[in-house]
Assembly symmetry: C2
Homo-oligomer: 207 residues x 2
DNA sequence: CGGCATCCTCTTTGATACTG
DNA sequence: CAGTATCAAAGAGGATGCCG
């Protein structure tokens, strides 16, 4: 392991999670929950497969990730975060906050995108009132969906669609992002191509 | 610039600050304020000089750092953070928080240390009550000092000693860290070699 | 197909030396 | 002091192969 060799908490943290791709792997595990090698690869376009294997091994050794064989019907290895790994969530939250300013420019030609990546912005910008009825908000780009579940005070994220969403927003990534952040008024977003299916009030109440 | 090519705020942030050494350079500029190339090098033991030059150039291009020629008496280039660069402070705070668990083991044989690195833990663990008289706490390892200035509600950090400190703690890095975090009771720290000069109550009131 | 390991090339890093 | 130049070593990226 390459280390900065400094007795400093920042340096020691970066010794563990500062390598290329590492924090993005943690992002995937936070967003997707326990998942297969293939799910990780799908959430990390352009990662070299040997790097993913390397990083997973390092993360496991460092105690942030654990892998276990799933029971027979699935018969695959599942990777998941330990408590220590999940404790990185505040770090990722601040990275999202800082990076929010870089997002309005929209995806470039070569940028890849996965709907569930909207999970972090969603839990950053949306907030369920404690007394509020549970709502399911579905965000969709192309065929891919992510579901935002908001129930008394907490916001959870689930990859994939949901049976009975209260509101479905479909459209380009930057439209969805603008809509949930509130930076782009819903009417403007609709004019730009956002498709709103359900009660828009649901979104307003979460903001 | 190497990029992850993902339309995701985390990935875009890491595109900017995810390279090796980059966040540690930001740490130095946050702790030291505007400083010279040489000051940075001193705060970043083991960095290759070409890397420091490269990173500073990249940070400047990204708008996180600005360099300006200091007026004649100094006659040198001063590097400092822009507002955008300073906005990374919450990210570093969370990195410190997460890394705190890695610190009790103490510096290894090859670890380097600079007193001013204690500035982040100090502003994490210490807090000035709003109505409290201003206090100056000096932390010293070897010949190197850092001063923690606490005045109504805020905690500031200043490299170097201070003329009239209210309290001086001297000793090994992990003793200082244990003392300010409160994880190591002052009496135990003293037994382990911490030298306390001044009123220990000052520290207690900040915790 | 899922989960890697290997091989190869290219880029980045690190150590050291040198310069205006 | 504030870098640039050079070069070897390590890491990243891409293609492909292997095995249950």
């Amino acid at each position: 392991m390459r280390t900065y060799g400094q007795y400093c908490a920042i340096a020691r943290t970066l010794d563990v999670v500062g390598d290329r791709w590492t924090l993005l792997i943690v992002r995937e595990l936070l967003l997707q929950g326990p998942c297969r090698y293939t799910d990780l690869r799908n959430g990390l376009p352009r990662i070299a497969t040997n790097l993913l294997a390397d990083r997973l091994r390092e993360l496991e050794q460092a105690g942030l990730v654990e892998s276990r064989a799933a029971p027979p019907p699935v018969a695959t290895t599942l990777f998941s975060l330990t408590d220590r790994g999940r404790a990185l969530q505040p770090v990722l939250r601040e990275l999202v906050t800082w990076g929010a300013e870089l997002m309005p420019s929209g995806p470039s030609e070569e940028d890849s995108f996965r709907s569930h990546w909207l999970g972090f912005p969603a839990s950053l910008y949306l907030r369920a009132a404690p007394d509020q009825a549970p709502v399911a908000l579905e965000l969709r780009t192309g065929e891919e969906s992510v579901t935002i579940l908001a129930a008394d005070g907490s916001v959870r994220v689930q990859p994939g669609a949901t049976p009975e969403p209260d509101l479905v927003l479909s459209g380009a990534p930057q439209l969805l992002l603008g809509a949930i952040s509130g930076l782009l008024p819903l009417e403007d977003a609709r004019a730009l191509g956002l498709v709103i299916d359900g009660d828009p009030g649901v979104l307003v109440r979460l903001q």
